[in-house]
Subunit: 158 residues, 2 copies
Amino acid sequence: MSTQGSLTETAAVATFATLLRAHATATRKLNALLLSEHGLTLSDYEVLLRLAHAPERRLRRVDLAEQVVLSASGITRLLDGLEAAGYVERGECPSDRRVVYAVLTEAGRAKLREAQRSHVAHVEALFAERLDDAEVAQLGELLGKLGEGPPGACVADG
Amino acid sequence: MSTQGSLTETAAVATFATLLRAHATATRKLNALLLSEHGLTLSDYEVLLRLAHAPERRLRRVDLAEQVVLSASGITRLLDGLEAAGYVERGECPSDRRVVYAVLTEAGRAKLREAQRSHVAHVEALFAERLDDAEVAQLGELLGKLGEGPPGACVADG
DNA sequence: TTCCTATGATTGCGGACGCAAGGACTCTAG
DNA sequence: CTAGAGTCCTTGCGTCCGCAATCATAGGAA
């Protein structure tokens, strides 16, 4: 009795639960497809894509990690795999010997292009099945706000 | 070189990438907090929550798996942990001896309530920092469409 | 009854990934 | 030069979780 404190659903909590569901659903399906058709995980794919868009097709590991939201160790191991497959190479930085660039190889570009063909189609099918164009755009915008780095750099209190 | 095919960003692809980022960002932070403050993972928490809302506070493992989008084995192992901690118990089904219910214990309810206090606050802080109320509601609705079960029949050919 | 198929659950195996510790290097201060 | 602090990356270890195989049970057909 007197559970009035009502821990029930606030909008944010409900939306977060829905985010978890939507992510898990979309991700599992697409990851399985990408893996079976091209031998890449979603993270592999995202990394290849970021590299393809980067100037000189190279990025420091730290920056790559931040872009795909992976830990430092996560990036190291993910790149180990892509290196073994020949899709990326290590590049040195002349001005700072601590940094190791991840550099997309020609094979990596080819692999990405190959994977993109079907992956893009699957993503679009998944979205088109449930949302119209305006909704997709709207969703992208809202998620963008949610996922972007800390708004005021340091939160108010510090 | 006729790369005109332009594999660049369609709206759906960009939105999907943003979903990955937003999920990873939100999830990592909240999971770490929940784990350090209460020793529960986000999945643990979601499971406890679903059980708390279920009639008689019990659910078949299959149904639970579907609700939180986990595989059958994932649920088994997650529940192993919650059982070991005393938060759920196994319940038999008289009419079908294959099924094993997951039943929330009193300790489980207490744990959930305890965890909810801070978790809900963290979730709301995260959302409130970046979105206003209308946006949160809108986001929830769009994600709901994305995450819901297959609309028509799902994959055609199979 | 026996057989066949479908469903619920568990287990072996392996992959992905985070945390914490450690190594390598850079920069600044003394 | 040496000391100390900060940054970039890697490695050891542990956890989460999916897939495929397996077992037990259920329900229908012969």
